[in-house]
Subunit: 170 residues, 2 copies
DNA sequence: TCCGATAGACAAGCGGCTTGACTAAATAGT
DNA sequence: ACTATTTAGTCAAGCCGCTTGTCTATCGGA
């Protein structure tokens, strides 16, 4: 191999390494942004909900509301939705019951199960959370435009498997 | 007000309500996707790292690596980076030290502080994580194309404040 | 040269989740 | 129809990672 070839090969390796490093930095940046985006959403909504007077709840409770508000939810459904054990979901629902956000009614066809439903207070809290989320997204749309926000949603939907809306304990 | 006006007004309200509901569903979908995207990243990288033999670590440790690998990090820096107390960071670093991922050397100019650095094992783990992240992103690019992935990153950067890369305890 | 501020570690406590064990009710098997 | 297995849910105990509280050693400014 001639010297020129070796030089070009070494230069190629340097360029490839530099490109790798740049790509890696981009990847880390995107990962960080996604983490921060999720945290921003959760914190923003939770803060607004607390400011609205529902200050005895944590974000996890809100995740549970998402499932319970859909109707026909049992404790087991909530557990699956959150990606936690039934025991954890049971405690969570018990707490929501004690605090007046959720009621447990007998299941019409299964005497073992209990059907969960939001109380008026639970619905009020849900509306506050929805408002906060809408406000946040309006802010995003004001910066990016509705079209790019929609593109964001569509692109993510293509690459992200929709799993449980869990408390994210990591 | 004539009857026709009232009818039109009522119809307008119905349409507005329907639009609100659709917008709200879109917002919830985007929020869910962002949460799932973050979880997918964290779980994917963590799983790959564990599979690579570093099975005594949790995602939080990886977040700490991000800061420590940058160099010139103290326990306090890690604490700020993770958004936890100095005590928590101290315990975390202590664990990483015991497990052979991090060393604590005396700070050159401040006898109170300790300068943190990754060991060879720590670097190997970091490389494994970087590889896993790159693989994940390659998968995304294969579906969306590199251009849209870049657009994703750019758009998020415009609306998301870069906060601490914290353990996300919610 | 003090004296408040800072870096870090030690100790105790707590909150939220897990595993384990149990009851009651539904479903399957024969 | 009767038993055996599965399933919904709760009670209890334990664990893990973080927090608050306290302390020492060191830094830096008046």
């Amino acid at each position: 191999m001639r010297d020129g070839d070796m030089q070009r090969a070494a230069e190629g390796r340097r360029e490839a390494a530099a490109a790798d490093q740049a790509a890696q930095a981009d990847n880390l940046a995107l990962a960080t942004l996604l983490l921060s985006a999720a945290a921003t959403l959760v914190d923003g909504i939770h803060g607004a909900v607390m400011a609205a007077g529902f200050d005895d709840l944590r974000p996890t409770h809100g995740f549970a509301f998402v499932r319970i508000s859909r109707g026909d939810a049992t404790v087991g459904d909530v557990a699956e939705h959150l990606g936690v054990t039934k025991q954890a979901a049971s405690q969570l629902v018990d707490e929501l019951d004690r605090k007046g956000y959720v009621t447990r009614r007998p299941h019409p066809t299964d005497a073992r199960a209990r059907l969960l439903a939001l109380t008026p207070r639970g619905w009020a809290c849900t509306r506050a959370a929805d408002r906060a989320m809408a406000d946040l997204m309006e802010g995003w749309a004001a910066v990016l435009g509705g079209k790019r926000v929609a593109a964001l949603r569509a692109d993510l939907a293509r690459v992200v498997p929709v799993g449980p809306l869990r408390p994210a304990a990591w």
